[in-house]
């Protein structure tokens, strides 16, 4: 979103420096290298790792919280990672308008941190689900989706046990009508290859088929599908690049405002 994320940020670098990224590494992260690889080798942008115990993060433009099983998923997926030192710095970074992308376990961590509303519960089928799904883009006015067309369908893989999104209880429990009360923004929904949203295309029982959610301001996004696993043609799919390209495009065009 042109307005709020950039206005809130004030973080626009000078036009000479490329957009830079940090990938957070927790004990048990396992998609950190994939994210690093895509940023460095596909996007060709500077990227560094930042460890969970760091009380500060480097001066970057976007922080990626990758997938995995941080702290063994003990207690609740993402619960312990959300209380680790680096998350305090990321909370400040996000409050200043910094871009934060949480993928899979990263989405769970952002919910546990309170940077995103709601919680991710066990899939209704009680199974770990690992397969390709389709996600319909519901909101192109975020820095993460601005390279997409409205209602565009992205094909991406999921791999999770806890992806069943539930909004905060006071914001309606399950009814589609309650979406108006939801304090976040629904950015992506599970759908059929043709873009139809229904229970049949909802792999995990997620409320309102939610696959990706952002905060009101649009600078923090959580998504269960893995864009970093589908950003190269040799991986039989490159739709994930829409997410990463959106970020770079937003930064280069609107981020300077």
């Amino acid at each position: 979103m042109r307005g709020s994320a950039s206005a809130a940020s004030g973080r626009a670098a000078d036009s000479q420096s490329p957009m830079s990224f940090a990938v957070v590494v927790f004990p048990g992260s396992n998609c950190d290298r994939d994210c690093y690889h895509v940023i460095r080798e596909v996007l060709r942008r500077p990227v560094c790792y930042v460890a969970h115990a760091e009380p500060q993060i480097p001066d970057v433009d976007c922080v990626i919280i990758p997938g995995g099983f941080s702290y063994g998923d003990y207690l609740r997926a993402g619960a312990l990672a959300a209380r680790s030192p680096v998350m305090g710095a990321i909370r400040d970074f996000a409050a200043g308008g910094g871009l934060v992308l949480g993928i899979c376990n990263g989405f769970q961590i952002l919910c546990e941190t309170g940077l995103l509303p709601g919680a991710l519960m066990v899939n209704t089928a009680l199974q770990f689900i690992c397969r390709w799904v389709h996600m319909r883009i519901e909101d192109v006015n975020t820095p993460f989706t601005r390279d997409c067309k409205p209602n565009q369908v992205l094909r991406m893989p999921i791999a999770h046990y806890e992806g069943n999104f539930r909004p905060p209880p006071e914001q309606g429990t399950g009814s589609a009508e309650a979406e108006d009360l939801f304090c976040g923004r629904i950015v992506g929904r599970y759908c059929s290859p043709g873009g139809e949203v229904s229970d049949n295309s909802n792999p995990n029982g997620s409320w309102s088929s939610v696959a990706a959610v952002s905060n009101r301001e649009g600078n923090v996004l959580g998504m269960m599908p893995h864009p970093e696993r589908c950003s190269e043609h040799m991986l039989k799919g490159s739709d994930g690049l829409y997410i990463f390209r959106s970020l770079v495009q937003w930064w280069e065009e609107d981020g300077y405002e």
Binding site: A79, E112, A119, V122, L126, R166, P168, P169
Partner: protein, 83 residues
């Protein structure tokens, strides 16, 4: 001092594990089982002699980490309350 913390999904939050157990129990002949809710039980040892202080600290632990207020409720029980 020993404190027990019980964490459970809020009423109204679908509990697929509990539902699966309900069906299995009924298949085993426990036809009277109407519902099962699965939760967690944590036993915490505290270096604290004052019951009320121990209870308040355990409640704070639930607020800060042990329970997720979006989906879970919690109860704190002192050991003597359980026997």
């Amino acid at each position: 001092m020993e404190v027990s913390v019980f964490i459970q999904l809020k009423d109204g939050v679908l509990d697929p594990e509990g539902e699966t157990l309900r069906q299995s129990l009924r298949r085993l002949g426990f036809h009277e089982v109407d519902g099962v809710r699965v939760g967690k039980h944590l036993q915490i040892s505290l270096a604290e002699d004052n019951t009320e202080r121990a209870r308040r600290r355990a409640e704070q632990m639930c607020e800060d980490l042990l329970a997720n207020p979006v989906i879970e409720d919690y109860q704190v029980r002192m050991k003597e309350e359980l026997s």
